[in-house]
Each structure stands twice: as C-alpha cells, then as structure tokens.
Amino acid sequence: MTTASALTRLLKPVTPLAADMSIADVADRLLTPEHKAFLSLPIVDNAGRPLGLVSRSTLQDIFMQRFGRDLRGRHAVQEVMNPAPLVVSLETSLEDAAKQITGQLQYPITEDFILVDDQGLYRGLGTVLDLLKAMEARIAQRNLVLRKALVELKESQTQLVQSEKMASLGQMVAGVAHELNTPLGYVKNNVQLLRELSAPLFELAEAQAVLGDCLNDPTCDEARLAMALDTAAEARVKAAPELLVDDFTQLFSDTLYGLEQIAELVVGLKDFARLDRAMSEEVDLNECIRSALVIARNGIKDKAETILQLGELPRIPCAPSQINQVLLNLLNNAAQAIDGFGQILVKTWADDSAVFVSVQDSGRGMPAEVLARIFDPFFTTKPVGQGTGLGLSISYKIIQDHGGQIRAASEPGRGTRFLIRLPRPQALPLQRSA
C-alpha cells in the first residue's frame, strides 16, 4: 500500500502531447512556466498509451543548428521523440522504480520518466530529482528506525548483562549465606553451652564466698561453718572446674575460630563486590583469585579439590570487581563440569608482556562443536532456568575490554582449561633504565 502510493506522490499530471503536434508547438509548450520543471514531455496515442518522450535537449539541439527551427519546426514531434522512454508502473515500489530507472538512465540526464497505471495507460510524469528526494527521505526514515532499534538493542543488552550479574550475585549471596550457617551453627551452640556450663561455676563462687565470709567472721558458729563447708564442697563437685578447663578452652577457641570464619566470609563478600573502587588501580590477580575462592568455596567443596599454583605477579591495572566476576564464573563452571569428585587447578604466571591465569578442571569436557560456541551469547548446555547462557560471553567481553584474551581448550572425558591473558602496562623508561 505504502509503496504503491510512494510513486503516486511523485506523479505530475502533465498534459501529454499528440504524436502529430509540431516541434515548434512543443517548444512553445516547454517554455511555459508550468513545464519549466520538466526535462521532457510525454507523447501518447489516442488510446492513452505512451509512445515516447521528447526532451528539451533534443529540441535545443535542433534549434541550435542554423535554421533549425525554420527547417524542422513544422515537422511532427513524433520524428524526434525517444520511442523507448523510461516507463514505470505506478504499482512499482519506490526501491524497484529506483533500480529500474538508475539501470536504464544514461548520462547526461535529459529525460523524465513516464508513469503508467496497471493497464499501461499514461497517468503522468515523474522527475529523477523527485525520485532521489523520495529515496533520501526513505533512507533517512530507515536510518531512524535502525538507530532506534540499535538503542533498544543496546538497552536490552545492558539489561541482560545486568540481570546476569544480579543472578550470579544472587547465587553468590545465597551460597555465602548458607556457608555462614556452619560456623553460625557451632558458634551459637557453643555460646549456649558456655552459658549452661558456667552457671554451676557461679554457684561455686557464691558458695565459696559464703564460706570465706564465715571463716573471716569470728562470731560464726560451727554449725554455720559446717554448712558453708558442705555447700561449697557440693558446689565444687557439681561444677567440677578442673574438668571444665579443657572444655572451656576448646569451646572458646572454636567459637573464636567460627567468628573469624564468619568475618572472613563477610570481608570476602565485600572484597568481591568492590563496588567502592574504580577501574584502573594496581591489582594483584592472586588476591582476586583468593577472594573468588572464598565466595565459590561452598559450590566447589563437595565437587572438587582446589589446587593453587600461584606465581608471583606484577600488579596490573584492571577493574577488580569485573575480573572477580570472570574468575567466579570460571570456578563455578569448573565445579559444575565435574561428575563425582574431581580437581580444579588454578595457575598464575607472568612474562614481560602479560599476566596469565589458567583454570583447569578434571570434568566432563566438551566436544569441539560445543567448545566453538561457548562464548556465544545465550549458548548454554544447562537446563532451562539454570543458566542464562551469558556468563562466558560476558567474561569474554570483560577480558576483551581489558585488552586481554580468554581462550578455552577441552577434551571430552578429560576436562577443560580456560586461559586468560591480561596485558601488562608498557614498561616505563624509568623501569627499563633501572
């Protein structure tokens, strides 16, 4: 509908010429103001079918010859018309019309094109300039739509990245919350036990205080003293302080250890998020690995033994919270790839140009066709609802943004290894001379 009306909008209902009209009359008509905008005029037969176009330039060529107008002015226009003009159906779409016209048009442009209806009958003229303008408007409109689509796409991409981040953050927080339950379990129980166990000690202290008062009191009779002695002895048996020493020592040290565990997890969470710190600080990747491991521990410990071979690393500028996200993603993937109980080997090393992190698991591994797609957005081998398929594609993007590379090698049945390379900042001349 819109394409059909596109050409209709270009249509100029120019009165066509009869085939036997004289060249001189045609020239006069071309000079009238309403025909000024046209390069040519149409000639149609009695039935209204287009026969050809006569162009301004053809007439000019004739008139430029000596006595041209006098010699040929009376001839029928039919003799000098172009019998094979551009004829475009009004039904044609703007794009097809443009294609047809640019395909047939020759330099210099001396003619317009004839517009016909579906019966092939003359309806009017169209000019190339109008067509160009229409095309340009169409392209501008298309660009606008594309730009809008691009903006929307970018927004939804940001949203997806954000929701993946929230999902992994949520998983992480839930994991750490559960991890907290173990130390909380024994710390809470120990404190309750300490309260119960210390109650008889207070009774013993009380009984011994009464006894002490008795001994210091010259007026205290023997019966009262005997009773105080009895009570103190009873309280002593009941409290059994000598037996409690070991229990108390153990309870206190376990409780303190548990509180330290809890503190470590909380600090780990804070370090991990590192929302308070900006990009481009000097970061030790080994520290990132350690804090990612604190967070990932609960998901890993019943799946794999983690072996760390951390080399000495120069500090590099990066966004630690992003690198942590990548590391957590790799560690969780590694744990999930393992059936039964396996191993995760984390290695770091550096050379002159870059810092390397390798995360290797003894899991299922992947066939080549899966491996080829793991960094693709939305590609996942996990069941619906368990993975967004964005984890690795975001990791890829993060490492790329850092000017680094992430690669994977895998062998079905043997395991998978991810290698991250992050470039070191170019050595400063000062360092070189030192």
Binding site: T182, K188, D302
Partner: protein
C-alpha cells in the same frame, strides 16, 4: 533404660562435631566422624541407634551417606542436619535415606535436644521389641488415592491389581476423612492440592492420629520449606515430583507396601513414625480441627 542410646554425628567440620558432642555427651553415648566413609565402616561393626549427618561433605553427600547407612543398619534413625536449603538433597534424603527429620543449621538447641529425645524413645522401643520372623504375610492392603490426575490413577490402580490391594478414591478432603473414618487405610497417595484444598494439614493430622499409615506425596510443587515440614511434621514416606516417573513411583509404592506389611506383623508400639507438632499457629489449628474430625479413627485405635 538398660542400654544407652548411641548417636553418631557426621560432619566435615570438626567444630560442629565437638559442639554437638559436648551438648549431648551426658544423655547419650556420642560418636563422631568427620569422614562419611569412616562413618559407614563404623556402622558395619558397631550398634548405632541414631545417625545425624551434614549434607555437603567432600567425600559424599549426607543423603548418600544416609541411604547407604539404611542398607547397612536399617533400624537406625536417620537425621539430616544441613545449612543449605537444597530441594534435591531433601528429596533424595527422604526417598533413599528414609530420614526421620530434616534439621537446619544453625540449629535451635532445645529443638535439637527434643528431636533426639524423640528419636531415642523410638530407638529404645525398637531395642526391646521382639524381632519379626523372616516370613511376613503378604496381606492385602487398603490404598487411598487422593489425586484426580489420570497418570497417578493409572500407576496406583495397576499397583493395586498386581498386589491384590484394594483401591479407594476420594475427590476431596472431606471424602478422604469420611473414608479414613470408615476403613482401615494402610497407604495414602495424595497430591498437595486436591479440589483446591491444601492436603498438608490432613497429612500432618494422620501422622499423629494414625502413625501406621504411610503417605506418599505426588506433587508438581517443589518448595524446600514445604517439603521440610512434610518430613518433620507429616512424616511422609515418599515425595514424588510430578510429572510422575514410573519407575520411581512403582518403587515407592512397593517399599511402602512392604513396610506396611512389616508393621502389620509387629505389635503397635514399635512403629518408628513420630511427627513433630506443626510449628505455625495456623497449621496447628487446622491439624487440630482435622484431628477432631478423625476422632472416630483415634477411638478405634485406642480400643
């Protein structure tokens, strides 16, 4: 009590074990193991009445440990103590480990003590009960189905025909209560939602009023908290997710029938089911009123 009750705690965190040992050493003979494999070895040679295990351990999961413990020492009461709310682990611990309770970390000292006391009572009764002879009579059972789904009906009906059991059906809670009051029911197969009603209170009431009735829950819902309550407060026998898996369902029904037949052959006091009172006020009220409706049943049990 002549023989002390022995409890084996298994957890990969030694501090949990020390804390629990210190809490319970005066009432029970407490054993601890930080490696589940050693715990299993121990079960083979030593008599243990109660085993309390952590879920996430490096060598094997608690659900796995309890399932194997059940093979080695079927009379042991099994309790899962975990800091993770993990539905799969809970389902496995119930279906393969036949757990008595699912407890969460950090635990409440009193609640833990109470749970162990309940378990110890059951264990003590078991110790003194005469052993059942090997040949258990294959009695026909009464099976009540409280689920309108065709696939469930198909499996249960086939099971009843094959085993010569009687199948009774109810379309609502009130129909179920009427049937329970008029017939001795051995097995109940129920969804958690029937005709728009929540069946959990009925399951909880039955665990108290009729501890010899075994309930199998067949449900599309998967909520760890709800399952935890069904284990602790309704003492359900199996939790089977919908859409039903044929093999799992058949196995559950067969195991339930076998258990029901063992119980029929035993005196009333050795039943190892003992449900916890519902914790929420609203639940307690519902269970209370259902218990009233099941009054006649109770009278008959007492008589």
């Amino acid at each position: 009590m002549s023989e002390p009750i022995r409890i084996l705690f298994v957890d990969d965190e030694e501090r949990i074990l020390r804390s629990l040992a210190l809490q319970f050493r005066r009432e029970y003979e407490v054993l601890t193991e930080s490696d589940p494999r050693r715990a299993l070895e121990r079960l083979k040679s030593e008599n243990v009445q109660i085993i309390v295990s952590d879920q996430r351990m490096p060598q094997m999961s608690g659900a796995e440990l309890l399932a194997q413990a059940r093979e080695i020492a079927p009379d042991t009461l099994r309790i899962l103590l975990t800091g993770y709310s993990d539905l799969d682990a809970a389902v496995e611990a119930l279906n393969s480990g036949g757990i008595f309770r699912y407890l969460t970390k950090p635990w409440d000292q009193q609640e833990m003590a109470f749970t162990l006391r309940q378990a110890a009572q059951i264990a003590a009764r078991q110790l003194h009960a005469p052993k059942v002879s090997a040949a258990i009579p294959q009695a026909a059972l009464n099976v009540l189905l409280l689920d309108e789904d065709a696939p469930t009906l198909a499996v249960v009906a086939e099971f009843c025909v094959a085993g010569g059991h009687r199948l009774l059906r109810a379309a609502s809670l009130s129909e179920a209560v009427a049937l329970l009051n008029s017939q001795p029911i051995d097995l109940l197969v129920s969804d958690l939602q029937v005709a728009g009603e929540d069946t959990a209170p009925l399951l909880k009431s039955l665990a108290q009023a009729h501890p010899r009735l075994l309930s199998l829950v067949v449900t599309p819902f998967c909520d760890t908290q709800a399952l935890l309550k069904l284990i602790n407060e309704a003492q359900i026998f199996r939790y089977l997710p919908k859409p039903i898996r044929r093999g799992l369902f058949d196995k559950g029904l067969l195991a339930a029938a076998e258990q029901a037949q063992i119980w029929r052959a035993q005196p009333a006091q050795v039943v190892t089911r003992l449900a916890q009172q519902p914790r929420e006020e609203r639940d307690r009220e519902k269970v209370g009123s259902l218990l009233g409706m099941l009054g006649r049943l109770r009278e008959r049990l007492i008589a």
